[in-house]
Each structure stands twice: as C-alpha cells, then as structure tokens.
Symmetry: C2
Subunit: 226 residues, 2 copies
C-alpha cells in the first residue's frame, strides 16, 4: 500500500482529496473570459514554491534536466506523487521558465517553439536516464490544471495514474497540432472538463447557468426537435 | 468479482485481452491514408452483428432509445460490459444508422446534425430512464475504435471504465467543436493513440518508420538542437 501524506494541508488540499460529485462543464471562449479567468485571478494559490524550484532555491537535487533558456526553457523533475525509482510508475513534470502562460488557454503560435522544445528535450532526457522512449510516454497538459503556470506531465504509457482521462488530459502532440491547424484554437475552442462540486469554480458555472439566456446554455442548446 | 466470457473468441479477441506493451502512434493525415485506411479496409471484422441490431433482428429488447431517421438516426443500448442495472457503472452505446462513417476520420460538417442529434437525444433518453443528467455524463468516441461503424460511448462521469484515457477517448463535445472551428479538422489533424504491440496496425506503423525519410518521422522530427 502506498500512502501520500500532505502536510501542512490547506483547505484546498482537503477538499481536493475528498470523494465528491463531479460536474461536466463546457467552457466556451466567452465563459472562459467571464467566469474562469476572473475566478483564477481571484483564487490563484501562491506560486512561490514553483519559482523557488525554477530559481534553484529549492529541490535543486531533484532536477533531471534543465534548459535554462528564458524563452523556451524548462525544468524537468519527478512529480511529487512518484518515488523517482519505480520505472513502471514513471511520472515527471516539466515546468516552463516563462511565467506568463497560465494554461492551455494562453497558448498561441508564439509558443510552438517552447512546446516542441519541451517535447523533444523532455523525451531525450527521459530516454537517457530511464531508457524509456517516446513511443512509451504519455505527454499531456491538464485543463483545468492544479496550478496556473504552464507545465506538462510525462507518464509511462503502461501506467494509468489519475488525471489521464479525456475530460482532463490533453496530449501535447494534439495541443501542438491544434495550434498548427488554427493559430487561435485555444482562444476560440470550447473546452470541456469535470469540476468537483466543492470547487468554487463549479459553483460559479452553476450560478451562471441560471443567468445565461437559455439559447446560450451549452448542455441545453441543442433542441432535438429541430 | 465480475468475469466477462467471450465465446466464441476469435484470434483478435484473444490478442485484445492479453496483457501487452503499447506504443504511441502519431497518425498524420498522410499516415492515415497510407497505413491506417488500407489496413482497416483489409482487416475489418464483419459488421453483421451490428446491422442485425440496427434492423431489429437481434437484441431488440435491449434498445433504450431509437431514432429511426435514416440520416441522423441512431440506436441507444447498454454496452455489453454493463449489466444494465448498476447505475454507478452506467455504460451505453449509440450506434448510428448510417453505414458510411467508419470513424472520427470521416466526420465533416455534413455530420454535425447527426452528432448533435445523438448528443441531445442520447442525453434526454438517459435522463428520462436513469435520472442522470448531461452534467453527469462522459460522452465520447474512441480512436482507434473497436469496430469501424460510427458509435459513441455514454458513461457515468463518476465511473472510470477502461478506454476513457486521453490517448483513446475524444469527447463528443470537443469533436463537434473541432468541426465547427475547422470543417476538415478530422481530415487534417494528426491524431495520437496507443496501439498494442500485437495489433497488426502497430506492426505496420513500426515498419513504416524505417521506410519514411527521417524528416517525416513524428517522434524524431523535432531536433532539439534547432
């Protein structure tokens, strides 16, 4: 049995790890602007721990690979859920150096070089250290992410950790391709995801449902009689 | 413990249920045309069982909902993996009536009405019968699918059956939105998915890697030194 201990645990941590109902949300570009963005600007947790890692003030010994370039650089290190040894459960995170990209929603063609750099160098570093090649890796972003500073997950394809499901994980290869196909894809797309009922963002979406005109409600905007 | 018995089991069934390595494949439009499409035209299993369901020759009593319209019609029935009773594990399949859509790859704006119809009427039927609303459902397509006749999966959001991960499942809401954003999205996109090593398609992709010029190899086409 593996037990994870979180100490100190904030209220957000406690809520995150309790069993609860989830709700699917269809986040249009408009809803992102009117609901999600104001919410995350208001509720964002401090990213000090992350800046400490990027600036080598903490966890320097855990870094597997670093590209120090300001624009396309990143740090690759084991996810806190991984013991760093059991290759069958390989789980690493890439934290980009840039501080101006909150999530998928901010990505544009200007970031393609960064995304491709993380993909190629992350793969190469993992292959060198663990002997696991690109074809054995699942590389993805979460939306919504746990924290709003762009990062990517690298997990072993044979391992199914939580957070790899289609209502949360977006393959990096798909993200890159979407932007190649349509430069403003992530500014225009409706992104669907599941929110826990205790998430404040969930409450805001539910509240907005009753305010929006019926024609704009995502789940009810398709009239089968038509 | 729940045991599924498949009888008679074809070689394909045996291979499908054995533990095995998987490989990530990035299927560009070109690779779909040159590798996947010829493969599935050659290897396609008979769809007679499915046509029997659509024509009411079999399993008529299992149908939860039917829209008999030729163009946008479909049949909704419990997936064979679901007992049809335990709501916590709800799993239904929508089989479209049209026989000319193999998979995601064939979808164009001409199919938007069909996709929206399945979404809206499928949700309504499930809500009426099981009391589970749209916000509690995960509605998705598989790519690659198990059989090449367009169908959609409806599962309870709180339940995580196999096949909901980001390297296999595509949310119907995302599929609809992608086509709305870019009419020929599914003819142009690079779609990534995991193949089992015993899958003949996997062998064809691996063989093609050594034939394609290096510049076209998906996993190696990004040179970190650039």
């Amino acid at each position: 049995m593996k037990v994870s201990i979180i100490y100190p645990a904030s209220e957000k941590h406690i809520v995150k790890h309790s069993a609860q109902h989830r709700y699917m949300v269809d986040e249009s570009a408009e809803r992102y602007k009117n609901i999600t963005l104001p919410h995350l600007e208001q509720e964002q947790l401090s990213l000090e721990w992350l800046y400490n890692v990027l600036e080598h003030r903490k966890e320097k010994e855990r870094i597997l690979y670093e590209d120090p370039c300001d624009e396309n650089g990143f740090i690759l290190l084991p996810d806190l859920k991984w013991d760093g040894k059991t290759v069958e459960q390989l789980y690493l995170l890439a934290l980009v150096r840039r501080r101006d990209i909150r999530s998928l929603r901010d990505l544009t063609p200007a970031h393609l070089a960064l995304l491709r750099n993380v993909q190629a160098r992350g793969i190469a570093a993992i292959e060198e250290r663990y002997g696991i090649g690109a074809s054995q890796l699942r590389i993805y972003l979460h939306y919504q992410p746990t924290f709003y500073h762009l990062h990517m997950h690298f997990t072993y394809l044979r391992y199914d950790p939580p957070g790899t499901n289609c209502e949360k994980a977006h393959l990096l290869s798909t993200v890159i391709n979407n932007i190649e196909l349509l430069g403003d894809y992530y500014q225009r797309a409706t992104l669907s995801y599941a929110l826990k009922e205790t998430d404040k963002l969930c409450a805001k979406f539910i509240a907005s449902e009753s305010e929006e005109p019926a024609a704009k409600r995502t789940k009810t905007d398709i009239d089968p009689s038509q």
